[in-house]
Symmetry: C2
Subunit: 371 residues, 2 copies
């Protein structure tokens, strides 16, 4: 399909970005990679947007000072560069940068489609969400963001299909954080599994050591990542959620530790003082167990009552949520057509390869639509 060449700009070469570039390099009909940027450097293809940057060889290209510009490239400059390409262009944003996210309407109005796992644009102020989708609706540019919820699991696309075909989604609930899934599956395993005697702080420390948490575990424990995902799903389901701060989110950071600084030292202090709160968490766990339940960190969108909530819940020990393993996510869609039993999607909801898979699959769909 060289008659309709598609030009690609990619920002971000972290875990997901690197995995994405690997997948991109193996696509049978890849788009033409003409811009690759990270915080410190920008690489663009030659004059006339040719030759394209070899996705398989981006690391050596970025390490060659001759072909790169040092320093970050601003969103308006990326817009100018991609907009002038001699064909359709797409921005793949593999960062979690809020400032790039807030420029999405600019890209879309310039006819540049967006594919991204970056939650920021879709889970910040409602006005940005509306601006993004009205910019997309007014032109030919598209915006796909499957990996913003559940990584490569088909969550966003399935919810959009349910809504677009006229089903009435009544409730969405599940476990939306791989980290919190691991913490509670380990701390409070379902009956029948091997019982755990580990204290809460030990489980958190172990998860941190295994790299299952953010560098600062408080970024998982504050619940904001889950709140952002719920904000996205609620909005797709039709609720005008103002922001991820506009509904109850239960933080697992003890109030007494909330004021510790976000520095390296602050993290160390937090981890050192967390054991003081083990008794509290054990009490929560044991209270649930007394009624045959287990404690889980659950997100819920009640579309009917327009309520969104994120926090600890006691869950029946033999339910699918209680029986989750490892760091899997589970998302249940309750709808009018599906009746009493929900449609359920379950599996790894984090990790570079599966997140990149959602990005690559979206890219393929956008390319198919732009052809």
């Amino acid at each position: 399909m060289s008659s309709s060449q598609i030009y690609l700009g990619v920002v971000g070469v972290g875990g997901v970005g690197t995995a994405f570039l690997g997948q991109l390099s193996r696509l049978p009909n890849p788009p033409s990679l003409v811009l690759l940027a990270r915080t410190t450097q920008t690489l663009t293809s030659g004059t006339g947007y040719s030759p394209a940057i070899a996705a398989s060889d981006w690391q050596s290209a970025l390490s060659s000072p001759a072909v790169t510009t040092s320093g970050a490239i601003t969103p308006p400059k990326i817009v100018s560069y991609l907009q002038a390409a001699p064909g359709h262009s797409i921005l793949v944003d593999n960062t979690s940068d809020p400032s790039l996210a807030s420029a999405y309407p600019l890209f879309l109005r310039a006819g540049i489609s967006i594919v991204t796992p970056n939650k920021k644009a879709f889970s910040s102020d409602l006005s940005l969400w509306k601006d993004i989708f009205s910019a997309a609706a007014s032109g030919s540019a598209l915006v796909y963001h499957e990996s913003t919820v559940g990584a490569g699991l088909p969550v966003v696309s399935t919810l959009r299909d349910l809504v677009a075909t006229g089903d009435q989604v009544t409730r969405i609930e599940g476990v939306f954080s791989g980290t919190l899934s691991f913490l509670f599956n380990t701390f409070a395993p379902a009956a029948g599994s091997v019982s755990s005697s580990a204290q809460w702080s030990e489980v958190v420390a172990r998860a941190k050591q295994l790299g299952y948490t953010e560098p600062d575990p408080r970024d998982d424990l504050n619940g904001m990542d889950v709140a952002r995902k719920l904000t996205i799903l609620a909005r797709i389901a039709g609720l005008d959620v103002e922001s991820p701060d506009s509904f109850p989110v239960e933080s697992l950071i003890p109030a007494e530790l909330a004021s510790l600084p976000t520095t390296r030292e602050g993290i160390d202090q937090f981890m050192a003082r967390l054991p003081d709160f083990d008794t509290q968490m054990s009490a929560v766990k044991e209270k649930a167990e007394k009624s045959g339940k287990v404690v889980r960190y659950v997100g819920r969108v009640d579309v009917v009552t327009k309520q969104v909530s994120v926090g600890l819940q006691s869950i029946d020990g033999d339910s699918a949520i209680a029986r989750l393993k490892g760091s899997d996510n589970i998302i249940s869609f309750y709808t009018k057509r599906y009746g009493d039993r929900p449609m359920i999607i379950q599996g790894a909801g984090a990790g570079a390869d599966v997140t990149a898979m959602g990005v690559t699959a979206d890219l393929i769909k956008v390319m198919e639509r732009l052809k």
Copy 2:
């Protein structure tokens, strides 16, 4: 988007067809319905493909002899009619007709896209499968068939995404028949559920009475519906499966009853003689229970060893398959990227509304790509 009007021909007004027409009538930007056919009648829009048939009002239109042609319309005539439309056209085949299915390459070569829940085209001879996808690849027409497996559950699209993004699918397994799911969930419920003392033949009779089986329950019990679905998934995963007869399929029709005729009387005789085999089925059930397992009718594609199989299996009582409820399907994808724990999709895999939802969602995607 009236500048690129899309013309739609729909064949089949059974349960799924009727539900689809209802969903179609409520789409915000519907295509122009210009042909509606069932076995006995064909309705087309006026000269110049206008005005379109009102999808919300098709029943009264079909009941008006003035606007319909009696008798079935042949596939080549549908091709001619849709091909001459002044824009892109799409055939929605809501039948299970093998002869219409075998004409798909004709439609696709004429530039007419296909959306269908009809399994026949994709699960018959491998040559037809290859003909369909080479016809689609050679032109601009598209073929979408989400509802051929798991009804509206995102099974086909998810597997295609996994393959297209370069993941290695190693194994697909699950329960692919709503009818057989109901029969075994009722006959041999998982431990912890209310125990069942019902005999196999009683469960079959009850399912038939509830309308959960085909009019002839042998069409479910012979396993061919599951074999067709496995054929489709195996082919998408890259296996050259010749036909649904080319791998082991365990029939639940006792050999002694295999020769009963397919007539009304044959069905009655089958149901009357089925209790003679209850002891056999109870023995299978009890054998599984002795080792803490339950018996389930499972389909499996082992992509690595290139083996496909369909039949009874003893399943760990606390596994997701064993704990399935009602007539739900469950499909597990084991892949390299997802590692030890599969991606799982679960929910109603049959029913007119959810099947039509898969068709309507596909139609929207095809329209988006044709624009």
